[in-house]
């Protein structure tokens, strides 16, 4: 049970506090409800580039990282399709420094042409390192536009190279004023702090920041997919790989828990059905995984695997399909349901051992509507029945709803 207190400032900033006096540290998480989904299709990658610039100077602070490190803090940030998250840990005695730094950059940024040019270069190197210079690195870049035709989820958070290059200071300013406001932000604090003190600090540092009008554009809904889609690419890789993506529900819908357990039945731990049958039993795959993208709007259920040398796609795909069909035709045995629920529970508890894990969870559950989900989510999973898993498999894992990427060996590079 994670206890917390919550308040909302007059300017709309929501503040959540969890006290834990067993640690000398404090952790802070700020979620701005803006991500790649809010980008212009001709200027993708802006939300993520913007995240980089949040560290390059605000109204009174020239050097965010230096000031934080000076107070013993350490931070990181990430951007996805839906949100941008900034988080840090710091000795609790210096918690006010975190309020100073975070409130200053919520007030306003002070970005120069040089900083912008420099961070574009850094982001382009990130793009090369993570997507272009890795075997199979571009698979996710290919899968998105195959699965999504109208929704902004069709482009990746990292964006397109030519879009990143053409971002201007004007774009950065507009983006800031459209989305970086107290009423579009959730802040969570955990650690060796007192809730009342934190609420006072929040009011002192953030209270005077004016509420801003948030640019809420309604996003186009992805129409149902009625025919199966396939894409084949050839790359210089040593093994064939297979990716399958089905459209499923959004993160806030009840079916999410059922689908999450469904992927656990397939590949959780080393005992999942796909590991047992396709890797150890039939020796068709060298590795295989399944997961939900977990996006706010309807996301994807993805299964991805690498084929053993000499195994044909036909054989691998047919055996994979058999396992999926079995989920639709036969209910999962009780013991297996119990296994995936127990495993979820253990992981849920272990994920919250440290205050950073707890503060990230609290702020992200608040994005879903209520931080108290941190305590009730285990019950949501416990309430899933084998019948519900079967129904979800029938509803979502249909061939016409599926996108398949064949990522094939080209040339002579073979095992």
């Amino acid at each position: 049970m994670i206890d917390f207190k919550k308040c909302c400032l007059n300017n709309g900033l929501r503040v959540i506090v969890h006290e834990d006096n067993s640690t000398p540290l404090a952790a802070v998480s700020l979620v701005y409800m803006v991500g790649a989904r809010n980008e212009d299709p001709e200027l993708t990658g802006l939300a993520h580039l913007f995240e980089h610039l949040m560290f390059r100077g605000s109204e009174s602070v020239h050097d965010f990282d230096d000031q934080l490190q000076l107070a013993g803090g350490e931070n990181n940030a990430f951007t996805n399709s839906d949100i941008t998250n900034y988080h840090l840990t710091i000795p609790a005695v210096n918690i006010e420094t975190a309020f100073w730094l975070e409130s200053d950059r919520m007030k306003g940024l002070n970005i120069t042409e040089e900083s912008l040019a420099n961070q574009k270069m850094v982001v382009l190197e990130e793009y090369r390192q993570s997507y272009l210079n890795q075997p199979y690195g571009d698979a996710s870049l290919l899968l998105r536009p195959l699965a999504y035709k109208v929704h902004p989820y069709r482009w990746p958070t990292i964006g397109k190279e030519e879009h990143i290059k053409k971002v201007t200071l004007r774009d950065i300013k507009d983006f800031f004023h459209s989305y970086y406001s107290p009423n579009n932000c959730i802040m969570a604090v955990a650690g060796n702090v007192k809730a009342d003190d934190i609420f006072k600090l929040a009011d002192k540092w953030f209270g005077k920041i004016r509420m801003r009008k948030v640019n809420h554009v309604s996003l186009p809904e992805e129409p149902p997919q009625n025919t199966e889609r396939k894409l084949t690419v050839k790359r210089k890789v040593p093994a064939n790989a297979l990716y399958k993506a089905w459209h499923v529900c959004g993160r806030k819908e009840p079916s999410f828990f059922t689908l999450d357990l469904l992927t656990d039945i397939l590949t959780a731990g080393e005992s999942g059905r796909l590991h047992k049958i396709l890797i150890r039993g039939k020796k068709l795959f060298s590795s295989i995984n399944s997961y939900l993208t977990g996006d706010l709007d309807p996301g994807l259920l993805i299964i991805q695997g690498r084929l053993m040398n000499g195994v044909s796609y036909e054989k691998a795909e047919a055996e994979l399909n058999n396992i999926i069909e079995e989920l639709k035709n036969t209910t999962v045995p009780d013991e297996e349901m119990e296994k995936v629920k127990n495993r979820f529970e253990a992981e849920h508890i272990m994920g919250q051992v440290n205050i950073l894990g707890r503060v990230l969870a609290l702020s992200q559950y608040e994005v879903l509507g209520d931080a108290s989900l941190i305590n009730s989510e285990i019950d949501m999973y416990r309430n899933v029945t084998a019948e519900m898993v079967k129904d979800a498999a029938v509803k979502y894992l249909d061939r016409t709803n599926c996108n398949t990427l064949y990522y094939k060996i080209s040339g002579t590079k073979k095992l």
Binding site: Q69, A71, G72, E74, Q134, R280, E335, N354
Partner: protein, 428 residues
């Protein structure tokens, strides 16, 4: 209303409350067990640490394959599928890692399954079967993973770096080949297991909110593991670097080059180690480091650059690692060397020194935040044969080190003519 500039709050001194030495118990078969009790959650972690790494191998991949086969091959009483099912059923996280000196097997579990977890660990770790079929399947999978990883400039550069600084013929510098994956047989695993998974090679580290009956249960499950006649291989000789200090490994089509620069250095037991750790941190050990500021935040050559100081049983090493856009490769190497030379020449300014000191002190706080972090920090010191006083000394040294000492240490331990430079990337 005027837009008031915000006033920076004061920075308070960072205090560290050190825990004393963990409680040590000795099981009936003389296995030492260290217990770090604490935390809020009803979770326990056990690390089974065996002095059995690459240096103990008679054939490449022997240590990692023995450890991996514990859950891939099954035990006397359970098949691999049964083992994996039971682990997942009870939500037990079971991990194996093998490195140059050690094999570490870790289990993390909820306290309500304490008995079950211990019983299962004993069965998996001490009664394994090493069936040929399952071994073959595992090695075919690992071979594919190996070949895929050789497509990455980062992996190519790293393995050539270790081969260069530790030598081709030393287990520390061993570079694997595809044949190694096909050579290993069940008999190698049985030999390795019976020689090293024994009480005389084992130490336990237990951490978390441990139940009151922990000691008794540890002895019940692991105090009766039998001794075997010890025929441990002799400690291998010290590793020596190769003559060639500059290496370029071409990788066709790569859009970035991986750069690895470094050398062997002192171990944790050396009195200068902590000072060197501070110098390494200033150079590239944290986000505010000089290398990060120069190559990322100023020049935009890279997404990130870090330097590491690592202590192993037979040697320590310094390593600077980064991936840079291919057209910046030579410029990046030049800047890295420049930054080292600058540390040897000009005293660190007060503000930077204060920043790195506070960063390192708070990092020390993080190293003792909760039972799991504390046990790991203790284990690191234990690996070097030293106790927790090492960390007290570290806190004192961080507080007291001067700009002059930093110059002295940088001059003593970084010889830019002796550094190895390994680059993997596209040809010009």
């Amino acid at each position: 209303m005027k837009n008031q500039k915000s006033v920076k709050p004061p920075v308070n001194p960072i205090n560290i409350e050190f825990i004393s030495e963990p409680e040590k118990i000795t099981l009936s078969n003389k296995v030492p067990a260290y217990i770090v009790d604490g935390g809020n959650e009803e979770i326990t972690k056990i690390d089974f640490v065996f002095r059995a790494g690459f240096t103990s191998e008679e054939i490449a991949l022997q240590s990692s394959t023995t450890a991996r086969m514990l859950t891939e091959g099954g035990s006397e009483n359970l098949t691999a599928n049964e083992i994996n099912h039971i682990l997942d059923y009870y939500g037990i996280t079971f991990n194996v890692t093998t490195d140059r000196d050690l094999t570490i097997i870790s289990a993390i579990f909820l306290n309500k399954y304490f008995n079950k977890a211990l019983e299962l660990c004993r069965e998996i770790i001490f009664n394994p079967r090493f069936p040929e079929d399952e071994l073959k399947t595992l090695m075919n999978r690992r071979l594919q993973g190996f070949i895929i990883s050789r497509e990455k400039v980062s992996t190519i550069a790293t393995e050539h770096f270790f081969e260069s600084i530790f030598g081709k013929s030393h287990p520390y510098g061993l570079r694997l080949s595809a044949e190694d994956f096909l050579r290993i047989k069940p008999v190698h695993l049985r030999n390795f297991h019976s020689r090293y998974y024994t009480p005389q090679e084992m130490t336990l580290f237990v951490s978390g909110k441990t139940p009151p009956e922990t000691k008794e249960l540890l002895d019940n499950y692991f105090g009766s593991i039998e001794h075997f006649p010890s025929d441990r291989k002799k400690t291998p000789p010290l590793p020596y670097g190769e003559k060639k200090r500059n290496l370029f490994i071409p990788k066709e089509g790569a859009v970035q080059s991986a750069i690895r620069i470094g050398s062997q250095t002192i171990k944790r037991s050396n009195p200068d180690f902590i000072s060197l750790l501070i110098v390494n941190t200033i150079l590239g050990g944290y986000f505010g480091s000089r290398l990060m500021k120069n190559l990322r935040e100023d020049k935009g050559y890279t997404y990130g650059i870090y330097s590491y100081l690592v202590s192993l049983e037979l040697a320590g090493y310094l390593l600077i690692a980064t991936e840079v856009g291919k057209k910046y490769t030579q410029k990046a190497v030049k800047e890295i060397i420049q930054e080292i030379k600058l540390l040897q020449k000009e005293p660190v300014k007060e503000k930077e020194l204060e920043m790195v000191k506070n960063y390192m002190l708070s990092d020390l706080v993080r190293m003792f935040d909760g039972p799991f972090a504390t046990a790991e920090s203790f284990r690191l010191a234990w690996e070097s044969g030293i106790d927790m006083s090492f960390y007290k000394t570290m806190a004192q040294k961080i507080k007291s080190i001067t700009a002059d000492e930093i110059i002295h240490i940088a001059r003593s331990y970084y010889d830019t003519d002796e550094l190895y430079t390994v680059i993997a990337g596209p040809e010009k």
